[in-house]
C-alpha cells in the first residue's frame, strides 16, 4: 500500500519538491493543502502582475490538470491549523482531519508587520500573495497616493508596480540606503538615483510611527515628525518563516525549522522545505534555494537518501524594467579586495570582492549583463588569479559563441529551476526546441527570475538549427521596453496618448527617439483613434513638409502612379512662379518637388495647388512608381499604370514604421524597378508577382516573392495584407527590407497570404479602419490646429533693430 504524503503549502517550494518526488517511482498518495485558493503560481513574478507586464494566468506554474494528471488531491483554500505528531493527523480550519504517514511542511513565510499604530486600518496591505496583488490592483489608480514601507527588493518592486498604475508613490525606508541587505551604500545610492528618475519619491533613515485616518488610511506619521498623505499603505518590511505548525509537530525550531544537509528535521516522519526552513543557520527568502532543497529532499523522502544540500549562494535581482540591479555572495570589504567601476553619467556601478583569489561577492547596478559569469565564478569558486586584469571587463570574445562554448555541460544555466547547459542542449536536439518560449515550456529554464534568459538565448543561437530571436532592443533610455512588449502594454492598458505612456512607463519626459515612435504606435494600434500630440512629432509631421538644411521646406504633391496632365503641370508652374520657389525638381519617384518654401507660405501653396499631399516628408506611404504598362508599351503584359494608381489610392495617407515606396511594372523588364521597392507588383503573362522587402538605398536588396496571383485585385489584396502586417509588427524606423529579413519571408507568407482566413480578415479590417479615419494632412492648411502652426509669432511690442 502506498504511503500517505501530506504537503502543507501549495507554493513554489512545496510543488517544486513534489515535482521532484514524482520523478521517483510512485510510492505516495499525495494530498496538498494550500491556504490560498489558487493553484501553484510563481510568487517571484507578482511584481510583474502588479506592473501589468503579466496577467495572473501567465504566472501559473502548475495548472489544475497537473494535479489531476499526477493524481494529487488538492485542497486549495484550506489552512492547516493543527498537527498531532502522535496520531499523525493534520487539522484544517474547516474542521477536516487528515491522516499522514509522511508530512511535508512547505509553509513558506509571511509578510512581517512592524509594530506601528494603526496597521489595522482599511487600506493597509501586504504584497505577498496573488490576493494581495489583486487587492492592490483594485485600489491603485491614477492619483492614488501610496506609501510603501520598506525599501528592500519587494518594497521597490511594489512601488514601481503601483506607480505604473498611476499612483503617486513614496517609499519610506528605515535604513540610510536602499536594499542595504543586497547593496553597499554606494550601490544603494546609484539605485536611489534610478528610482527617483522613475518619479518615485524615497525617504531614507525614517520609520513610520503611525498610520493615520478614521477607519480608512488617510496618511502616515514619520519619525521625523512629518506626515504623508496616503490612500494606500503597503507594508514590505520583511518576511518571517511560518513555523507555528512545526512547533506543534514538536520539531526543533530556531528562526526557521532546523534541517540537516539531507533536509531532515528532528522528526523522522516530518520534513520541511523552502522559506520556512533554516539550514546551517540561514533562512532563505529567494527562489533558487527552494529548487535545490526540493531535489535533495525528494531523494531523502523517497528512500534514496544520498544527495546533500550544502547551502546556496545568495543572489538577488531587482525586477524593475530599466532598473538593473544584481547582488550575490558576500560583498563586504572586510578581509577581501574590492574591485570597482562606476560611471555617474551612465548610472553604472559595479563592485566585486575577491578573497584568496576567488570571487566572494558582486554588486551590479545599471548593467547586469555579466551577472551570469559572476554567478558561475561564485558557484564554482574558480581561481581568478590569471584573470585579475579582466574581472570587470573581459577581453572581447573572438567569436560570439565562445562564452557558451567555454561552459561545461554540467554548468548551471538557470539557477532558479536548476537547469544545466547539458539539459538545454539535450532539449534542443531531442525536442526540436528553437525559441526561448519553447525552451521555457520544455525545460522550465528561465521561468524563475528570468535573469538567465540571455544565456539561454546564446545557447539557442549557438546550438539550435533554426533559432528564432525573440528578445529585442529597448526603444531608448526614457522608455526601457522592447517595442513588441510596448505594443502589448499600450494595447492591454488602453493607453492612447504619448504623455500618458511616458508618465506611467517612462521617465515622464521622452526624447526625439521615443516620442515619434510612440506617436506612430498609438496611431497604428488604435487605427487613428488616439490622442494626437503634435509636440511628440518631428517638425515634418507638425507642418506636413520636409525641413531642409536652411530651415525652409519642400512641397511634393501627390501624383498617383506618376500620371499627371498638362493642366496639373500648369498649376504647379503657376505656384512655383507666384511663390518664387527657388528650385523645381523631378524626383526619383516620378513626382515634382518644390524646394525652398517658407513655412508660412505652406498653407497658401497647398490651397493654390489644390492637390493632395504626396507625404514625402513622413514615415508613411510615399508613392507607387509605374511604367507605361499595356496602354502604349509594345511589351507590356499587365496594365501596371492603373494597378499602380489604384495601389497608391488604397494605401495613401496611412502611416508606417518607416517610409514605404512601391512600384508596379507591366512586364519582367522591370522598368519602374519594382524588385527594389518595399512593395512591388511585377506583371507577367497571365498574372502578377507580388514582391516585398526590396531596397535601393544605403544597401541594395532584391525583394522577396510574397505570392503569385492571377488578377490585379488579388495582387492588391496580397499587397494590403503585407502592408498591414508590416505596420503592426515592424519596429519604428525599420524598413521593410530589414523587417522581412529579420522575420524571414517564410514566416511573413505564413502570417499573411497563407494565414487562416480569420487572421487575414483581421488584417484587412484593421487596415480598413485606419484607412477610414485617414485624411489628407494638407487640409490642415485651411484650419490650422493652433494659431501659430505655420506662421511665426508676431511680438505684441516692437523692438528696433
Amino acid at each position: 500500500m502506498k504511503q500517505r504524503l501530506v504537503v502543507v503549502g501549495n507554493g513554489m517550494a512545496g510543488m517544486a519538491c513534489v515535482e521532484q518526488i514524482l520523478k521517483y517511482a510512485p510510492r505516495f498518495d499525495i494530498t496538498v493543502f494550500g491556504d490560498e485558493t489558487h493553484v501553484n503560481y510563481n510568487r517571484v513574478l507578482l511584481s510583474s502582475v502588479l506592473a501589468g507586464e503579466k496577467a495572473a494566468d501567465d504566472i501559473i506554474v502548475n495548472p489544475l490538470e497537473w494535479y489531476r494528471k499526477n493524481e494529487i488531491t488538492l485542497r486549495a483554500g484550506v489552512r492547516i491549523v493543527d498537527v498531532d505528531p502522535d496520531a499523525r493527523t493534520v487539522t484544517g480550519d474547516e474542521g477536516s482531519v487528515t491522516g499522514y504517514d509522511v508530512l511535508l511542511l512547505a509553509t513558506g513565510s509571511s509578510a512581517w508587520f512592524p509594530k506601528i499604530e494603526g496597521l489595522d486600518k482599511d487600506g493597509v496591505l501586504a504584497f505577498r500573495t496573488l490576493d494581495d496583488t489583486r487587492e492592490l490592483l483594485r485600489r491603485a489608480g491614477p492619483q492614488t497616493k501610496a506609501v510603501v514601507i520598506g525599501g528592500g527588493l519587494l518594497g521597490l518592486e511594489a512601488a514601481r508596480g503601483l506607480q505604473v498604475r498611476g499612483c503617486r508613490v513614496t517609499v519610506v525606508h528605515l535604513m540610510p540606503t536602499l536594499m542595504e541587505r543586497q547593496l553597499d551604500p554606494d550601490g544603494g545610492h546609484y539605485l536611489l538615483g534610478k528610482m527617483e528618475d522613475l518619479g518615485i519619491k524615497v525617504l531614507l533613515g525614517r520609520t513610520t510611527t503611525a498610520v493615520l485616518g478614521n477607519g480608512h488610511v488617510e496618511g502616515v506619521a514619520l519619525s521625523d515628525d512629518s506626515c504623508l498623505e496616503a490612500d494606500l499603505v503597503v507594508v514590505a518590511a520583511g518576511i518571517r518563516p511560518n513555523v507555528e505548525l512545526a512547533y506543534k509537530a514538536g520539531l526543533h525550531v530556531n528562526r526557521g525549522v532546523v534541517v540537516n544537509d539531507y533536509m531532515e528535521t528532528s522528526s523522522p516522519s516530518v520534513y520541511a522545505v523552502g522559506e520556512c526552513v533554516e539550514h546551517r543557520g540561514v533562512c532563505y527568502g529567494l527562489v533558487a534555494p527552494l529548487f535545490e532543497q526540493g531535489k535533495v529532499l525528494a531523494a531523502t523522502i523517497t528512500g534514496n537518501r544520498g544527495p546533500t544540500y550544502t547551502g546556496t549562494v545568495q543572489a538577488a535581482k531587482l525586477k524593475i524594467m530599466g532598473v538593473d540591479v544584481f547582488s550575490a555572495g558576500d560583498w563586504s570589504e572586510q578581509h577581501s579586495e574590492p574591485v570597482r567601476f562606476e560611471d555617474r553619467a551612465l548610472g553604472v556601478y559595479k563592485k566585486l570582492t575577491v578573497r584568496d583569489g576567488k570571487l566572494a561577492g558582486v554588486i551590479l547596478v545599471g548593467d547586469t549583463s555579466d551577472s551570469h559569469r559572476y554567478m558561475e565564478w561564485l558557484r564554482t569558486q574558480a581561481d581568478l588569479t590569471s584573470q585579475r586584469r579582466h574581472l570587470l571587463f573581459p577581453p572581447p570574445a573572438a567569436d560570439a559563441g565562445l562564452d557558451v562554448a567555454e561552459m561545461a555541460d554540467s554548468a548551471t544555466v538557470c539557477g532558479c529551476v536548476g537547469v544545466t547547459k547539458g539539459a538545454i542542449i539535450q532539449a534542443i536536439h531531442e525536442r526540436g526546441v528553437n525559441t526561448l518560449s519553447q525552451l521555457k515550456e520544455c525545460t522550465r529554464a528561465s521561468t524563475g527570475c528570468g535573469s538567465c534568459s540571455s544565456m539561454c538565448q546564446d545557447l539557442l543561437r549557438a546550438v539550435a538549427p533554426e533559432f528564432e530571436e525573440e528578445a529585442k532592443k529597448v526603444i531608448c533610455g526614457c522608455l526601457p521596453f522592447a517595442e513588441d512588449r510596448l505594443r502589448d502594454i499600450l494595447r492591454s492598458q488602453r493607453l492612447k496618448s504619448v504623455y500618458e505612456v511616458l508618465e506611467i512607463y517612462g521617465n515622464g519626459q521622452g526624447c526625439e527617439i521615443c516620442k515619434p515612435a510612440l506617436s506612430y504606435m498609438l496611431d497604428m494600434l488604435w487605427c487613428g483613434d488616439h490622442e494626437e500630440d503634435r509636440s511628440a512629432r518631428f517638425i515634418n509631421d507638425r507642418v506636413h513638409a520636409n525641413i531642409q538644411k536652411d530651415g525652409t521646406f519642400s512641397v511634393i504633391p501627390r501624383i498617383r502612379g506618376g500620371v499627371t496632365s498638362a493642366a496639373e503641370l500648369r498649376k504647379i508652374a503657376d505656384v512655383a512662379d507666384k511663390y518664387r520657389v527657388p528650385m523645381v525638381k523631378i524626383t526619383g519617384s516620378q513626382r515634382i518637388d518644390l524646394l525652398g518654401v517658407k513655412k508660412e507660405d505652406l498653407p497658401r501653396i497647398w490651397a493654390d495647388l489644390d492637390m493632395p499631399s504626396g507625404q514625402a516628408y513622413t514615415k508613411g506611404v510615399r508613392m507607387v512608381k509605374t511604367c507605361i504598362g499595356t496602354d502604349f508599351c509594345r511589351f507590356g503584359t499587365q496594365d501596371s499604370t492603373s494597378a499602380g494608381v489604384e495601389l497608391e489610392r488604397r494605401f495613401e495617407q496611412l502611416y508606417t514604421p518607416h517610409k514605404v515606396k512601391m512600384a508596379a511594372v507591366g512586364c519582367p523588364r522591370n522598368c519602374a524597378e519594382a524588385t527594389v521597392k518595399d512593395i512591388g507588383l511585377v506583371g507577367q503573362e497571365g498574372g502578377w508577382q507580388v514582391v516585398v522587402g526590396g531596397a535601393a538605398g544605403k544597401s541594395v536588396r532584391k525583394a522577396d516573392l510574397l505570392t503569385t496571383v492571377e488578377s490585379t485585385e488579388q495582387a492588391l489584396e496580397a499587397a494590403e495584407l503585407f502592408f498591414q502586417y508590416y505596420r503592426e509588427n515592424a519596429n519604428y524606423l525599420e524598413r521593410t527590407y530589414d523587417f522581412v529579413e529579420r522575420t524571414g519571408i517564410e514566416k511573413v507568407r505564413k502570417d499573411t497570404v497563407y494565414a487562416p482566413e480569420p487572421v487575414r480578415q483581421g488584417l484587412r479590417d484593421r487596415f480598413a479602419k485606419s484607412k477610414a479615419r485617414a485624411v489628407d494632412p494638407w487640409l490642415e492648411g485651411r484650419q490650422p490646429r493652433t494659431a501659430a502652426q505655420f506662421v511665426p509669432i508676431q511680438a505684441l511690442q516692437k523692438v528696433l533693430a
Binding site: S535, F538, I547, A787, P792, I793, Q794, L796
Partner: protein, 108 residues
C-alpha cells in the same frame, strides 16, 4: 542708454505645450518654448549649422535640433550633445504677465 528691457511677446496659448515658436525682435530671432511649468527662451539658431531650434522636439528641459539632432539645454543654452562641447546659445529671461509671455532683452 544701457540696461535691460522687458518685451511683451504673445499670449501664452499661442505656444503649445512642449513646443517652441520663433519670434523676430529687431535683428534677433528668438525661440520660446512652453515647458508646461515655465517658458524658456533662447536664440533660435543651432550653433552647429544654424537649424531652427523652435522646430525641434522638446526632451525634458532640452530641445533637439531638427537638422542633425544636436541637443541644447534650454535654461543655460549649453550644448548637451555632442558631449563636451563648449558652444552655447544665448538665453533670455522670461516671465508671464497677465497671460502674456515677456522676454528680457539687453538694450543697445
Amino acid at each position: 542708454m544701457n540696461g535691460r528691457q522687458w518685451v511683451q511677446i504673445t499670449s501664452c496659448e499661442n505656444i503649445p505645450l512642449r513646443e517652441g515658436r520663433a519670434v523676430t525682435l529687431g535683428d534677433r530671432e528668438i525661440a520660446i518654448f512652453n515647458l508646461g511649468d515655465r517658458f524658456l527662451a533662447t536664440d533660435n539658431r543651432c550653433p552647429h549649422r544654424g537649424g531652427p531650434l523652435c522646430d525641434g522636439i522638446v526632451a525634458g528641459g532640452s530641445v533637439v535640433c531638427p537638422l542633425h539632432a544636436w541637443k541644447v539645454k534650454l535654461d543655460t543654452g549649453a550644448v548637451e550633445r555632442p558631449a563636451a562641447h563648449d558652444k552655447c546659445v544665448a538665453t533670455y529671461a522670461t516671465r508671464i504677465d497677465n497671460g502674456v509671455v515677456m522676454i528680457e532683452l539687453p538694450n543697445r
